[in-house]
Symmetry: C2
Subunit: 141 residues, 2 copies
């Protein structure tokens, strides 16, 4: 059976997980907005909503959270843009996403599953683990 870790250790792990969970959504929005800006030249709430599979009302509400977090700016009827901080986050997320997908692929996970699973996994991978992933991929070349 899963021999129990010390109470404090276990509580700390779960706490870390909960905080990762709360930033996961912001990360996804930032990454998607960056992608839309790059490929379409603009990021409109309706497109964001369609791509995330949520209602436009939900997307708009989340966008205002991004604004509150200092990650995005948006004026009514004028699309969404990322702040410096938002761009930096999006870039970090993009790199991490790529790394997770590449690792899964290297382990023999089919592309579609790798892309889909990475969407969830990426938010919970620590720097330490990311380094190990990169190392492993490099050693494989």
């Amino acid at each position: 059976m899963g021999k129990l870790p010390a109470e404090g250790t276990q509580a700390r792990r779960f706490g870390k997980m909960r905080s990762a969970q709360s930033t996961a959504l912001l990360e996804d929005y930032a990454e998607l907005i960056a992608d839309l800006l790059a490929s379409e030249g603009e990021a409109r709430p309706t497109d964001i909503a369609r791509r995330l599979g949520v209602s436009h009302a939900t997307a708009i509400k989340s966008i205002s959270r991004l604004k509150r977090a200092g990650l995005a700016t948006a004026r009514p009827y004028r699309g969404v843009f990322l702040t410096e901080k938002g761009h930096a986050l999006a870039e970090r997320v993009r790199v991490r996403h790529r790394l997770v997908v590449d690792l899964l692929r290297a382990l023999g996970v089919p592309s579609e599953a790798a892309e889909a699973d990475a969407e969830g996994i990426e938010h919970y991978v620590s720097e330490t683990t990311l380094k190990a992933f990169a190392q492993f991929l490099k050693s494989r070349e």
Copy 2:
């Protein structure tokens, strides 16, 4: 840049992620309750709360969700038990957790980071990816 996947594909991936997110907590509770039952002979709300790092009130509320989901039973002041369904879930989660930790370790992630990250990652690993993990580990022996 992250070339955008087709709209529908992307929306489906995010939807899957959201549904995984909503079961993650139930999975964690089931696993922890199983561990406590195995090692202590009982699973008390206060212990569960301490191990998850939440208040006992939060734990009790979550336990009632487990009951509603048919995963657990509990009578006032008498501890928490798992139903058949709850046990089955806990067992599946335990196996998956082990596999994820072992894989991370095999990739060179230090134990503590592997255990901590697995806590978040495990909920988002598909059957397909799990199989690939097992295969990879086997090929390494």
